[in-house]
Symmetry: C2
Subunit: 139 residues, 2 copies
């Protein structure tokens, strides 16, 4: 386990005023987990600040501009060639219109308490369980 | 809240074979939280990869070399001029001898289940509560 490098990935929990978060469904062009749902995001480029990376990935995947508001948490994904440390940032919409890239074929606004009812991408599910529990008390 | 930038900070949960993690006590040269305990770590430099940053901070603060093994999680600290997203990485020792910098005046190996008995640095305590709960089942 120690010989594979760690890379940083970033994901955005984009929350609207109704407490729903934006989920995207992975399309057939994805290498894995086709048909499962995830928050927008991806790997940070070498030398790229995490906040720049998450805003860039969200624009690429959704056409939306966001403002970061907090930290949702982080989780670990072990891949064949590397480990990913996935940092999840809470955000709100600040502009743009929703338009998916070829990486996703569907989008949905899911109330946080219902997040576990979705078929979530591997690695994400365990994190989502803890996150839903932790945010349960929020308005 | 939206106008302050987000910066990445990294901390290492260095675990030994007895399931204890290394805690450091902030000395009087620190700007705040003097006398409270924390995991080694600090801010990533601009353009610096998070895994490089955490190993650098640990060497600077403890003289120890580490290998990253997993992701403990992340939490948010709001500061006067910026937000910090604090990414906490699990690690094991791979070399070096413990030698503190002037930023800390004491060190201790704390069993994870006893972490909340320590006077932990602000922001860290809430995260530690969730982390202790999540790791309770581990050997």
């Amino acid at each position: 386990m120690s010989e594979k490098p760690f890379r940083l990935a970033v994901r955005a929990v984009i929350l609207n005023e109704r407490g729903q978060c934006l989920l995207l469904r992975r399309s057939h062009v994805c290498k894995g987990f086709v048909g499962t749902w995830e928050w927008p995001g991806g790997k940070a480029d070498a030398g790229e600040a995490f906040d720049v990376a998450v805003r860039r990935e969200v624009v690429e995947e959704t056409g939306l501009q966001i403002e970061l508001t907090g930290v949702a948490g982080a989780f670990h994904v072990e891949m064949p060639q590397q480990h990913l440390a996935v940092l999840c940032m809470e955000a709100r919409l600040s502009g743009g219109e929703l338009r998916l890239s070829e990486e996703h074929d569907q989008s949905a606004w899911a109330p946080l308490p219902e997040l576990l009812q979705w078929d979530l991408t591997g690695g994400f599910r365990q994190f989502a369980e803890a996150y839903v529990q932790r945010t349960a008390g929020r308005a």
